[in-house]
């Protein structure tokens, strides 16, 4: 087996390594994902899964129309998702654009909720490296504890892996202490093999998390894609002993979906990944459904959208 340090020596060895990764059995991974999705989680396990999922949510608002007021509202919800049930855990992080990081940080002081910021010319990533690094530095300076960067899909798809690698390394350096999540935008990578290569590329370059999508491209996160990425972090752990995280984002709207992802995490990566420091959901409407389902479990009857906050 090649030493991983050798792999990143130059463009050619990087290419040799990535193209030497075993191909993904498309039918197999889709069937496995669909099979795991039928698993039934009930009662106490479901309640546990709901609470765990809530603590893994990266409550996200990435709209052109975002205002400081909206971010503060979101922060309040992140601190205490359900006003009537104070025992509900706080969410993993709030995810905003760089210019709103400061607002979010101020609103979340002392809460334990992280502040994630997208950076590097999100969502397209179409800008030069100086701009991307400045974008990252600005978010970190404003107090972001997590940076969600996008990879240059154009470079990746045309095979310039070295360029993508260097860019992730440079952004990682600009992050300082902040965690780096690398968005692969799997909806634009077209094959599972590409997803596997991009995952390894991001892990090699030092990404703390690999994230499926920006949420701006359809299809966003899917179960099979997340499977491939979970396999990558599992294999990375087997080779290096380091634990890296996965974050599916976009299109996860209800509790049923979220629990399916948790089952996949448990079965593909392993139970040690069932923690907010290694698995996150990038979502906005998911949280309300989780809260409604939680109430249904506790109150014995179905809840409705009138009983959770509108955001």
């Amino acid at each position: 087996m090649t030493e991983l340090s050798e792999v990143t020596r130059d463009d050619a060895s990087l290419r040799r390594f990535l193209h030497g990764l075993p191909g993904v059995d498309q039918v197999g991974v889709e069937q496995r994902a669909a099979g795991l999705a039928t698993r039934s989680i009930k009662k106490a396990s479901k309640l546990w899964a709901i609470d765990t999922a809530i603590s893994m949510v990266d409550l996200t608002t990435l709209e052109g129309a975002d205002t400081p007021g909206k971010v503060r509202t979101l922060a309040a919800k992140a601190r205490r998702p359900d006003a009537e049930y104070p025992e509900v855990p706080h969410v993993g992080a709030v995810c905003v654009y760089p210019d709103l990081v400061e607002t979010a940080v101020t609103a979340l002081v002392g809460s334990g909720v992280g502040v994630a910021s997208v950076a590097t010319a999100f969502p397209s990533g179409r800008s030069n490296r100086q701009v991307k690094i400045a974008d990252t530095e600005m978010a970190v300076a404003a107090g972001a504890s997590e940076i969600d960067m996008v990879i240059d899909r154009g470079a990746f798809l045309s095979g310039r892996y070295g360029q993508v690698y260097e860019e992730i390394v440079a952004v990682k350096a600009a992050c300082g202490d902040a965690h780096l999540k690398v968005i692969l935008e799997t909806g634009e990578l077209s094959t599972y093999d590409n997803v596997r290569r991009a995952s390894w590329l991001a892990l090699l370059a030092g990404g703390d998390f690999i994230k499926t999508s920006t949420g701006k491209v359809s299809p966003a996160a899917t179960l099979p894609v997340t499977h491939v990425m979970l396999q990558a972090v599992r294999d990375w752990r087997d080779r290096t002993g380091q634990l890296r995280g996965v974050k599916p984002a976009g299109g996860i709207r209800n509790t049923k979906d979220a629990i399916r992802y948790l089952v996949a995490v448990h079965e593909v990566a392993g139970p040690e990944w069932l923690t907010p420091s290694l698995f996150r959901f990038g979502a906005s409407s998911l949280l309300n459904d989780l809260l409604m389902q939680r109430r249904t479990q506790l109150e014995g009857h179905y809840s409705g959208p009138d009983y959770v906050t509108v955001d």
Binding site: R295, G300, H301, Y302, S303, G304, D306
Partner: protein, 286 residues
Amino acid sequence: MSDRVTVAKTYKLYIGGAFPRSESGRVYPVADSRGGFLANAAQASRKDAREAVAAARKAFPGWSGATAYNRGQVLYRVAELLEGRRAQFVHEVTASEGVKRAEAIVDAAIDRWVWYAGWTDKLAAVLGSSNPVAGPYFSFSTPEPTGVVAVLAPQHSSLLGLVSVLAPVIAAGNTCVVVSSQDRPLPAITLSEVLATSDVPGGVVNVLTGRTAELAPWLAAHADVNALDLTGAPDSTRTELEKAAAGTVKRVLRAPRTEPDWTREPDMARMRAVLETKTVWHPMGV
């Protein structure tokens, strides 16, 4: 050799404009008035009820926001389609209820749609008002639909009774989840086929077949249901259902001990029961 075996049908539910099987996979046999086998009907579970409520909620903004004139046209179109399927309804009502004069019942049901169709654009004029107030304000009140209504359809009158409780709910602009007559669900199933091919948007009417006593408590306690019609609720469960409905302050239409005579001329009571009054004070003379 023409002893053809008739195809035994297994019907499905009507939720959100589609015809899904029950999530539980259950079906139950439906007997005619003499106890002979008629068909299998889906036996809905609480999760089907939940899906139906979600579909009704989703359809509510569109249906309540449609103009009253448009709603009237849509309901009138339902009457037209019902007329087209008259023979089938006559057959099913005869088989289900064992009555001799099923034609008259079906005709009355068709006429009832027309009657309620005519009311949609008159409700505001009749139930609304401009209110004399002591100040420089123009104060006026208008009726607005309550929201998602859970209807427990009458157990005996499977078509006319069903139409008599369903039509006022949607004429007023609400969306609904109907639990059909437990032992006589066929007319309700055929009516859902009519609704699916009419202009009524999917989700405005959702029809569940199955055990009323099993489904009713879930609908009564569901926090996203705004009103509950107890017409077809089993006698012994009504108090419990009212209590469950009180948990989220639903409007409850109580039911008389015995089923009313559905052939009697309808009035506005059923529409008024699922309408809220909104009053607006508008400054004048500025």
